[in-house]
Every structure is written in C-alpha cells, then in structure tokens.
Symmetry: C2
Subunit: 525 residues, 2 copies
C-alpha cells in the first residue's frame, strides 16, 4: 500500500478531552474518529487491526467446533419483557418502534433471541451440546460514554451461546471455553487477570471476567520486571533450594494475592536456601529454558509450596509472561504441599497490593456465564434426554469485546513515539521510507523493487511515497506502530546496503540489499 493512496490521518498533537493513553493514540494514529458520544468510525488502519483480531478469534472458535451464525440486530421487544431484562437494562436498552407500531430492541446481547430460535431448531438431546457464535456490532445506551471505545454505545463483540442437555455438559463446555479464552488472549499478547464475576444481568450462576491490566504511568517497565507472577487470586514467588544440584533447584511459593509472604515462616522450611532471595522473573525464566510453558516448569523443575489459604481458591490463571502460557489452577497443576507461609498484615515485602485491580485500572475484555436453565424456562423449552425424561436445556454464554482488546493492547504496548503492535495484529508488518525518492533514480528503483518483492511474499508493507520530510514520515510510521521499517537512502544503496529499523527495540541495523527479503521473513516470523 502506498501512503498516497491510503488514509493515514495521523495527528501530531494530543487530542483534547482524552483521559486514557489508548484513546489518545487511537485518535492520533488514525484508528478511530468520533461521530457522536460513544459512537466511532474505524478508519482503514483501525479496521485492519480489527480484521486481524477477528480472524484469530474465528480460527480458534472454529477449531473448537463452534458454529458461526448471524443473528438479527433488531429484536422484538416482547422477548425482553418475557425475560425481565427490559427492566433490568432500563435506559441502556435502545428501543425502536417501527412503522407498524411494533416495538424492537437494538441488540446489546442475544440470549433471548437465540433461545427463541433454537426452540425450533433443537429437538433432540442428540444435537447437544452445540455452540454458536457471531462477530457483530452491539449497542448500549451508556449513561456516560467515555475513554474512547472502552465505554461506547456501538461496539464490536464476539458472542457465543452453548446449549446442553444437563448441567454437567454445560460445566464441561464452560471449562473448555475458559481455556479457549486464555488461548485467544495469550495469542494476542495480552496481560490479563481472570476474576470470579457477578452474573445478575445475565441471570446465571457461575461467571468469570477476563480483565486486561492497564499499567500505571510508570508501571510499564515494572510489569516486565516483577519478582513474582501476579493474578487476581494469587502471587507466585521463586526462590532457590539449598542444594542447587537437587532434582528441584528452585521452589515456587504460591500465596493468596492479598496476603504477603512471612519471611520468618519461610526460614523454618529446611529445603529453602538462606538468606532468602526472591528471583527476578525476567532473569529467572530464561535460566530454566525459554519456550517452556509454566505448567512444565512447575511440574518438572520446580518444587511447589502453596500457602494453606490457597486451598480455598477454586480457580486461578497465571498471566502471560514472555514465553509462558496461562494455566488453569486445579486443572493443569496438582500438588499437595500446603504450608503456612503467609501473613496478611506482614509488610516485610510490599510490592503490589489489591488496589492495582480497582475498576480504574483494568479493561474487561471477556466475560463468560453459566446461565443454566433461565432462558429455557422463560420459553418453557424442554427436550427429552436419553432416558426419555423431559428436561430444560442448559445454556452458557461467552463474550469478547473486540474493540476493547485493541484499547487494552495499546495500553499495554506503547511508548512516547506511539503504538507498539504485537506482530500478529499490526496493521502492516513493514514500512518503507525512501529518502528523497524524487531526486534519485537509484533510491526509487530499489525501494519500488523491494516493495514489489515484499508484496509477492505476502508481507503487508506500507510504502511512504509522500513528499514529506524524513522526520515526519518516520514519526508517522512510529506512531502507527508498524513493527519493522526499511529506510532507503542514496549513500547506503550505493554501498549495496539498506537500513532496517526495529520499532520495538528502537534500533537500526545495516542489511545487505541482497539479503533483506530473507532477513525480513526471518525477523517477522
């Protein structure tokens, strides 16, 4: 793509009335534009990112066997009266009266509609379990739309609905989707927590929220330099055993996230090396092998000691950390070393506390619910089970906020120059800046040739052919957050070199012209 035929729409200055980094950068990088409070247009750069995220989600959902469908956005209001959610949603529900005076609701979610539809399509327990999903706009008349697309009126959601013959089947699928969500958010490089959530607006019982963490202003680095792994429920510290030639050279200490480790209590545990030194995660993990997932690490190389209070926690998820994938507590790890190692009021180690999880510093990106029989009962839908007994269908629902994922990724990946997209969702993989292209045929020739070759290799490239200064062009490419750059100037071309720029490492490197394609293919991965 040539910038002259593209709509960059970058803004140099910080826009007024923007309270969050993501909102500022989404406006500055030409990702969104506001049309009305809480209502946004997605410009070409933004929509390229949206398409990449939806593709990742669709691929994972399809592999799981979920069936993609498209439900109407206009829903007869009577369904919402029947479910009682018309009152519950109140003014947030957008209502429409058509020319024949029939009342409709503009969808904020689809539990009622899909239950009504499946009433006719599902007739036998043999069809169950079955799961449907769609990626479509949703609407909510927010009282105070704010933070850009984080709290907006019109937004893009992936919503899924599962149907089951009994609660056991629901719980099994719920658990599988729980893990699929971890897979999706990990794939998108998100740092997130999972919380047990309130299910009242949906009308179910068990529910979990997936919350992306918004780092504080100077916390960007901190997130990467923790000496423990933090989730909503727990923290894990790593220390050394006495004898490092041991089968387990390291020990993982797991405690409730609100508690603190009691050093005095640790001193009484014989296998721990004294004096106790907590290992820095960043330096620690590469030592025990990259590309290992935490499950392997914990099960194979590390001795685990958990505080007795940890027993009470039903679930926890370990957030993505460099090469580590998330795991599910009580499902992926099993152990029995529970010891008293914590102290709620102990302030010997204060690194983090629960305030970091207050409502201001997270973005809800996913939410899943076990709805049980609420909606089947609403329409009195029963089907025969294997034994011939009439029974209500059980149901689960599962949402992902696609727009919010983009905000969360930007909050977690940016610097003073702009956005730092993870490669898998960057709007373009490579930018090319030819310097003074109109003054040198050699620069023109090499830059166009490179562009053509990259295009043939299906590497998405933005070629900046504007008549702007290098500084302006370079600033724009950094602001948009294209991970890899190529700078072509006459001097280096004459010497058969071109300059490669890594956005994330903020450094340049000279590469032989003949080797640039292979270098990029290898670097982009």
């Amino acid at each position: 793509m040539y910038t002259k035929k593209y709509l960059l729409s970058t803004l140099k200055e910080k826009p007024a009335q923007t309270k969050t980094i993501s909102h500022q950068l989404m406006l500055r990088a030409g990702i969104i534009r506001m049309l009305s409070a809480g209502i946004y247009t997605w410009l070409p750069t933004g929509y390229r990112v949206i398409k990449k995220i939806t593709k990742i989600i669709q691929k994972i959902m399809n592999e799981f066997g979920a069936l993609e469908i498209c439900l109407p956005l206009l829903q007869p209001k009577k369904f919402w009266d029947q479910s009682g959610r018309n009152k519950l949603y109140g003014a947030e529900l957008i209502k429409i009266i058509n020319r024949r005076k029939k009342q409709f609701v503009l969808s904020p979610t689809h539990e009622e509609v899909i239950t009504y539809i499946m009433n006719y399509e599902i007739n036998s327990y043999k069809q169950l379990p079955i799961i449907f999903y769609q990626i479509q706009k949703k609407f909510r008349d927010e009282k105070r739309p704010q933070f850009g697309i984080i709290r907006s009126v019109e937004f893009l959601m992936k919503d899924a609905y599962s149907f089951h013959i009994n609660n056991k089947s629901l719980k099994k699928t719920y658990h599988e989707i729980f893990k699929i969500y971890l897979k999706i958010f990990n794939k998108l490089n998100l740092i997130f927590h999972v919380n047990i959530a309130d299910a009242t607006t949906m009308g179910g019982s068990i529910s979990h929220e997936f919350n992306a963490i918004i780092p504080k202003k100077n916390q960007q680095k901190l997130l990467k330099n923790f000496n423990y792994i933090q989730t909503k429920e727990i923290k894990i510290f790593f220390i050394c055993t006495k004898n490092t030639k041991n089968k387990y050279p390291y020990i993982a200490l797991i405690i409730n996230s609100e508690y603190q480790i009691n050093i005095k209590k640790l001193k009484n545990i014989s296998i721990i090396n004294q004096p106790i030194k907590f290992l820095e995660i960043k330096k620690f993990f590469p030592k025990i092998g990259n590309n290992l997932n935490i499950k392997n690490i914990l099960e194979n190389k590390i001795y685990i000691i958990a505080d007795t209070n940890v027993k009470k926690i039903p679930y926890f998820v370990i957030e993505k950390h460099k090469n580590l994938n998330s795991i599910l507590w009580n499902q992926d790890i099993f152990f029995n070393n529970f010891l008293d190692i914590s102290n709620i009021n102990n302030d010997e180690i204060i690194i983090n506390n629960n305030k970091n999880h207050s409502s201001e510093k997270k973005i809800e990106i996913g939410h899943i619910f076990q709805l049980n029989t609420k909606y089947s009962e609403m329409i009195n839908k029963k089907i025969k089970n294997k034994t011939g007994k009439n029974t209500f269908m059980h149901m689960g629902c599962y949402g992902i906020g696609i727009n919010r994922i983009i905000a969360a990724i930007i909050e977690q990946n940016h610097d003073h120059k702009g956005i730092l997209w993870p490669s898998c969702i960057a709007p373009f993989q490579v930018f090319i800046i030819p310097i003074k292209i109109n003054k040198s045929n050699l620069v023109k020739k090499y830059s166009k040739l490179l562009y053509k070759n990259l295009k043939n290799k299906n590497i998405e490239t933005l070629f900046d052919n504007r008549s702007e200064s290098f500084g302006k062009m370079f600033a724009d490419m950094n602001l948009i957050g294209i991970p890899h750059g190529i700078i072509i100037n006459l001097n280096s071309v004459k010497k058969k070199y071109i300059e490669y720029y890594s956005r994330v490492n903020n450094c340049t490197k000279k590469i032989k012209i003949t080797k640039i394609i292979k270098f990029l293919q290898k670097t982009i991965k």
Copy 2:
C-alpha cells in the same frame, strides 16, 4: 464437519407463505430463519455462503485499492435533515431517540456520514481520488417486507464511496468500478443485466443498476440454450460467412434487445452464408475455443455487424455465458460496421422480448451512482485543486446487496432436489455419506480416513454421521447443494472403490480408493 456437531436444520416440506423459489429453498436448506417480518437469522449453512461471497468481494475491492473501513450504524439525524433525505426516505428510515433525547437514524446508507467524516480527513487534492468501502448491515423499514431476504428490513451490504477533485476523475473511477462489478458478478456465476437507473434517492446524475435475472419456471434450461446472447440493451446472434476459410469464419449480428432481426435485410449482405442459420451459443463457443473471452472472440475471429440503432446505446454488458466474461460496450469493443438489419415489428424470430425484464423477474444486486457535488455542497466542503482554486469534492457511491446475491444465485441455480451452488461459494465442497457406518468397521475406517485426508487438504467436507437412512442423508446433501459427494458402502470398499456423485450432473462414478483425493482435487478446482 460432522453433521452431528452441525446444525443442518433442513425442512422436508415446502414452507407456507413463500412466493419465491429462493425463499423456499433458503428455509428448507437451513440457510435462514425469520425472527420478525423482514428480519432474518443466518444459520451456519447460510453464514458459510455469506462469508465466501464477502471474501470474494473484499479481495477484488482490495486489489482495486479501495480501503475497508467501518462506519457507525447509529447516525445523528441532523445529517439527514441537512441532506433533505429524512423527508425523502420518510417512514423507511428507522429513527431512535437516545437517553439524552438526541435523535439518531439506523443506517440505510452512509453518504451523509462519510462526507461529514472526510470533511476532516481529506484536506488536499493530493489525497484524491480515494475510495472507501465497508461490508455491514443496513436497515430499511420496508412497507411490505417479502420474498424472504429479497425485500427485508435488516440486510448485509457492501457499500463504497469515492471522492474526487473533479468530475473527470469521478467518471474514470465510476467506469473502473463498473468493470469491477462485472468481475464480481461474473466470478459469482450470476446471469445479470445492467440498466441505466434513476438516481433521485441518492441525489446524483448518472446511475446504473445491476439486475440478476430470475428465470421463469421452465426457463431454467432456455437460459443455457439460447441461440443469442441477451442483455437489457442488446442481443447478439452468430451466423456463418460464405467462405469458412475466410479470416473471419463467423459473423456477430448485434441489435437492440427490443428489436428483431429482419431476415430479408440480411439476405442482401453479400458475405453472409445462405440460407441463414443462427448458431446455438452452447455449441458455437466451444468451437471457436474455450476460455477465450468474448472481447477476444469479437475482435479476432468474428466479423461484427451492428444494427444502426445500436449506435444510440451508450453502454451494454454481455452477460456471463460459460467461459465468456462480460464486456463493456464502447470501451472494450470498437467497430464501425453499422447496417440496417433490424425490424421492430418483424416476427420472423421471436425468442424473447422485453417482458422478460419486468420488475417481477429480476433482483437488484448492485447499484452505482455518480453523486457529483451534492453532499460536498451540503456540508460546504471545498478543497484547493492543483491550480489553487477552491472546489467542491465530487463523489460516487457503489452498493452490492450481499443477501440478495444469495437469493439470485439460488433462483438461477436449483433443481427439484434443492440448491446447485457454484463451487466458489458452496457451504461445503464435498459431502461424505458412509452407509451403515455402525455395522462395518471397514466403512468406518475408510470414511474417517478420507474425511481426515480431505481436511488436511483444506477441502471443506461435511461428514454425515447421523443414524439416518441413506435416502434421508442423500436428500439433505442434495437440498443443501454440496457440489461433490462421496458415498461409501461395504461392497464397493471391499473392491477398493468408492462412489463419487456430481450434484450438478446428477450422476455417479466409481473411483479407485487410492485415487479419490487426486480426483476430488482435480474436480473441485
């Protein structure tokens, strides 16, 4: 995909209150379900087809350089007051009042909104021409929703908007998009006409409609056995020259579609072979070489004679016919042999007449408009051109009705058993029916192995693993319209054969088990 994990939702009986074949088959094949008048759910089979069509459109639009975006569905009503279209659309426009008493419109189209947005994003003639598109739902409060998704309230559209510094640039892009539309509709195997259309609701000047033809009940075959090519504007007949060793062995006769050829007048033309015999298209084209497009045929191998009245026609499009692509009159073909060969009242050849193009027998699938400066003037948007003069931006808009394309394809491609999807948009490429799978391990083994191999080759396959009779399974696969079938039964498997079924040719063929994958790869193309 296994049918047991899929939602087939086929209906055996013709549904009540359905007036068109496409409506009936879309319900019977589990493609759509009505939620409310004119409001439909797209079930898994339907949504698979939608995704294929959108992918084809996106690919062609992207190659052209159009930029995909996503505009809000909720639009401030003030824009529609400003453009005067609030009154013009009247009761068809769905209106919403939000909790802060602000008035909105639920988008039927986006001319106002995109003009308003681009007012801020386009500041220089250097950014022009530029073209944006989106694929999103649209809404229209139809007075009488009917014919299934053909006249519906909520529907999927591809809408595109182009911006230009002057009318010349608009006309150039308009012409290019005209050709892109031919490419899209040809790719989708549609038989269609292009008509000059009324542009009042959009407020422009020049406009063209693309209308898919709905064949009459017994016209299905006729369409494929014409002895002429028919468009809204013209008909082309082919005859032989006197000396077939001539540089031009054939002659194309082009006349106005409403007129008839006057045989007596033809007799006076010396190069025409006597007695005059019109060549049957189906047999004729293969003779002069398959895979040639009509442009090449007309320009290279065929002498062209056009009736003098043809001069008056500004455009015409030759509909898709087997290996022939559409062409644009006065753009793709140039010639000067105009002779008087027609007779309006001559009934010597009566094959078709203009009644075939009445409103009942076509589906509008595309519509393009030259809007000129209407919307720029509405917001008083001027930009400086090359000479520094302030000038209003010119604009074009271009729609494709994606849901309607599906109805049109079904109208044009079906038989008494169900739908006959063109391969490129079929929900699945192949079905597998294993006969009595639970009674034979051999059948189970071969069918599952074949399914696995097809999956590995990325051939979309529906494996019917229901405990139904062969008749029921086969009828469902035919109804859904999967182009290629594999039937696996014990007897043939023992002999190392399996049965291949061609949906379009309605015939079976025995294929060696070892060769089936290669055979399918070759057959599907």
